[in-house]
Amino acid sequence: MKTPDGLLYAKTDEWIKLDGKEAVLGITDFAQDQLSDVVYVEFMIDVDDQVTKGDAVATVESVKAASDVNFPASGKIIAINEDLIDAPELLNSDPYEGGWMVKMMIDDPSELEELLEAEAYEAYNEEREG
């Protein structure tokens, strides 16, 4: 299970890459493994939407499950990865790069304080699987 350094992780299995106030968001390798083959991604938001922490980003649908992806922080959407609409399998094959989901401007970086660093997220995963 891959857990790259330099990213922040939510216990609900989203990752966030912060660059000043700009952030990129996606789901983790653990999440895509749990879902198995993703067949569809439905975005719940549009570009320029203002969102609140906890709002739904998208629903990710596999053959056996449909999971919601939620925003770990509030902010404004600046981009959505349209590639995922025709190639949802990118979430399985490349969850941290080609499978990015949204780009947003974060209002308040302190909201991200409760997120975990790579090591802590890995430990959390081990705890869950055991």
């Binding site: 649908e61 053959v63 056996k64 919601d68």
Partner: protein, 451 residues
Amino acid sequence: MFTPHTPQEIVEMLKVIGVDRIEDLFTSVPEKYRFPKLDIADRLSEMEVLAELNEIASANASTDDFISFLGAGAYDHYIPAAVDMLLQRGEFYTAYTPYQPEVSQGTLQSIFEFQSLMTELTGMDVSNASHYDGATAAAEAVNMAFHIFRGKRKKILVSRAVNPQYRETIRTYMQGQENVQIIGDEEGTDFFDENQTFIEKIDNNTAVVVVQYPDFFGRINDYTKLIESAHEKGALVTFVFNPTALGLLKPPGAFDVDIAVGDGQPLGIPLSYGGPYLGIFTTKEKYIRKLAGRLVGETVDDSGNRAYVLTLTAREQHIRREKSTSNICTNQGLMVLAATIYLSVLGKSGFKQVANLCYQKAHYAADQISRLEGYELAFKETPFFHEFVIKTPKPVNQINLHLQNHWILGGYDLSQDYPELDNHMLIAVTEKISRDDIDEFVMALEEVAHD
């Protein structure tokens, strides 16, 4: 009855489990309430129960006894012998929901064929594997539209010319949602100018507009302006259709409607005092993922053979649970098969014949009745398919009583649902009715006018 256990087997089984008596298996059931005495009739043998059911049935009269002109949501069509013969195959009717595709290809392929037939019939992109009936399909259409807008549009516009029971069902279904307004069918809404007043009510808060085609009064309305206005305002349009009519009429898909629903009872399903019937639900491709109910898709197995499976199941209740938009599980499997067989055995030619016969006979009947003194065709300006409304010289229930003495079942008394339509009867004519039947009906109507 149907428990095959011999006394010896019961003893052996109890021994394996490790208890002395069957009663010992129920210790977790509170003693106070255990083994209640049930005050119901003692059991009957199969022979006796058949005699009893025959006796109960004999207290009925059926459409076999009458010449029937009753429609209003359920239609007496001819069902070819092939339909029930195939339906009675145990491999079909005692099979379970096809969750295990390897042993359910019979059911799955026939549902796939049903989906294809429904999209062809309606001109829409996709059909699901059925809903309970036309009324619940209409309610689910409204529910689906509501969810497509994520609850942001709270206005539902429903025509008063939609079947009254369907409108009631829509209201029942939507009462679980906050602040939803269902309007457009208030008492006093004008039937003649309905289209226009309706169009004026569509705005940016309207989720969906629901109209019927042909409508409850049998009329074939031109909804093009209405559909244009609705789409301009971003609202969806749902047609409630009659499947037989689509053998002759332009299908809903040709009008760019978003959802088309109806009841498939006319497609090889007996009247059966109101159920089980068949909810048909079709929509545009872009709404596939919002579609409630089962969907069968084509795929391949591990040897490359073509195979059919339930697909997009992640939408359904057993996976989405509280996030699913509908809770539907069991639907109308056997009725789906009946409709598929009916349409297959009638085929293009037979189905067009049925639609045409209904149209021709209904128009002959309307023409003959309108020549009678005291009787008049209501809604004269609008074309109709196989149902039409006549104004009668006396209250409809009086007329129907007289007709019954002639072993004729008259049409539906519209005053029950539309207070301003007293002395208005809704008459349906299907391919089963002969010219002689119609002439007899006309004679009897003439008689009762002069009583």
